[in-house]
Amino acid sequence: MAAITLENIVKTYGDGFQAVKDVSLDIDDGEFMILVGPSGCGKSTVLRMIAGLEDITSGELQIGGQRMNEKAPRERNLAMVFQNYALYPHLSVYENIAFPLRLQKLGDEEIRRKVEDAAATLELKEHLDRKPSQLSGGQRQRVAMGRAIVREAQAFLFDEPLSNLDAKLRGQMRTEIARLQRRLGITTVYVTHDQTEAMTLGDRVAVLRKGQLQQVASPRELYERPVNLFVAGFIGSPPMNFVPATVEGNAVELPFARVELPRDVCARIEGRNLLIAGIRPDHFEDAQLIDADQRGRGVTFQAQIDVTEWLGNELFAYIPFEAPAEVNERLTSLARELDSENLRTQLVVSLDTASRIKPGETAELWFDSARMHLFDPASGENLTRDLSFAPA
């Protein structure tokens, strides 16, 4: 067990492409760290540099306080679970799990004890004599984990381990991984593009974009206080709504409502005309369903409902709006970066299922303006990250 420290890590490929740009990250002993980002953001490259499968162009990697840049993968004493499991197809499940121990030249008796321990933890006992090809996806995944936990590695590395499983199994394995990590208390670095995994598993989450670290924080902080448009749009499902906000004195004009701003926010945005406001879908509500007290703490507005989706536990409503070209362009390029399509500018709001709002109607909605964020359209920076909107 050991802490992992990345200091100004850079990866430049032979063709000059910079996959990882100056990433610094401190992963504490026993911490569960998630690396997350859209495809091509360099998260797997960072993991493979920690593992020793990729050379580090510049910067320093330390594991347990020792410089590891020049060490071969086998000298780093890490365990890794690959996306496609990378089981050895010619070996039985038992021999797959025993493989790292055989390389350490342990005695047969000790190997048997350790493999059976690991198999018991992962409920693989009845499959030990089978070949990987005879196992289901979830079982293969567990064998890959068995091979990782059987040795006393300094840290676990996971490279999108659940992306080949179906949705139901993915949920089960996710809790399984969380339980295992808590029990063993081993430093873990986990790469994923799935934000549910990122939010539920990690002690801390590092968000990457085009090889650059955007924000490292607890899941709650990422969700509530994102540093920029990218993090705000990436974390949360359905994603945060971005709408143009025109500054008018002490207020901003949104396409559907006017929001009065507290004094410290005004000071922060002084001298700007156009901003992008971000509001989470679940910070909206049907105005009929909230009491007067709550109503006073937010903003109420009329909106034409386009489509509704009732999912049993929540109700989504879609409300199209017009955005100026400048904001639209920014939002489209953001959507492209986040691997999604921004087909039209619309609000997605998540309402209580008790709501009787119907598509085509004009409804009265409410949103919690205290939890709104204001972003700079050019830099994407969150101008109000450390401020609260609560009326002054």
Partner: protein, 278 residues
């Protein structure tokens, strides 16, 4: 109507192969039958012998020309095969996994060499071998055999290695293996079907070769079986040795048949099934 169509297609399914098998096996059976006929009875104008005899086999094994040739053939072919497969495995792994300048050149050169007509090499080789003292030695045959089997083996094996996902070696290295251990314990077993295919092809080339065998040897010291058969005289100089030659031919065919039967499962078996998500 459906019944007739299926009857016809069944005829095609079974009849076709039977026809092909009969066509290819007939000469073999003819040789086998000849080998059991007494020297006097080979003109009996029947497919099967009138009287079955093992006399020809006894004659063959009593002839030093044949036994020494058999020994030469076995060892020369085995040594050429083992060396060629070992070198090809390492070379193909490098070609499949490493990027180095001249990789394309090596591959196309290898293919060009494999296409080279053997006959055109025999003359120059004869002269060179005579002057360097390799003429009529085992090594003098092993070298040309390898130069023809290596390119083919490298091509076959590098195709197999390319099929094996990179993660296999990477997983092994993280599990604590050196590059060599990862290669030996993970990659070679996975490429086993390819290794066996390459080995069998190489062995057959060496075992069946006639051109080099007859041109680069002159005595029992290195002459392999296919060449020796041409010098066969049978029990006495005045008899036609057709039956004895047939017996010798049957004997040298047996290892080939045994090898194919032994390894056909290894060749066909898709060992990589289940390596990754499937």
């Amino acid at each position: 109507m459906g019944g007739r169509r299926s009857a016809l297609s069944r005829l095609g399914t079974y009849g076709g192969p039977v026809l092909v098998i009969a066509w290819t096996l007939f000469p073999v059976l003819w040789i086998v039958s000849l080998s059991f006929k007494p020297e006097s009875g080979i003109n009996n104008e029947k497919f099967l012998p009138d009287t079955w005899t093992l006399e020809n086999y006894r004659t063959v094994f009593d002839t030093p020309l044949f036994t020494s040739a058999l020994r030469n053939s076995i060892f020369i072919s085995l040594i050429a095969t083992v060396l060629s497969v070992m070198i090809a495995t390492v070379a193909a792994y490098a070609i499949a996994r490493l990027e180095f300048p001249g990789k394309k050149l090596i591959l196309s050169l290898a293919l060009a060499i494999a296409m080279f007509p053997a006959v055109s090499l025999v003359g120059p080789l004869f002269d060179i071998w005579r002057s360097v003292g390799l003429y009529d030695t085992w090594l003098g045959l092993i070298i040309p055999y390898m130069s023809f089997t290596l390119p083919l083996s490298i091509w076959t094996l590098s195709a197999f290695f390319r099929e094996i996902p990179w993660e296999m070696e990477q997983a092994a290295q993280i599990d604590g293996a050196t590059s060599w251990q990862a290669f030996r314990k993970v990659i070679v077993p996975l490429a086993a079907p390819g290794v066996f295919t390459a080995a069998i092809l190489a062995f057959f080339f060496a075992w069946n070769d006639f051109v080099f065998g007859i041109s680069l040897t002159s005595t029992d010291a290195a002459r392999p079986v296919p060449a020796a058969l041409a010098f066969f005289t049978g029990a006495s100089q005045f008899e036609r040795p057709a039956a004895a030659i047939s017996a010798a031919a049957v004997i040298v065919t047996i290892p080939v048949v045994v090898l194919v039967l032994l390894f056909q499962r290894r060749i066909v078996a898709g060992l990589t099934a289940g390596a990754v998500k499937g």
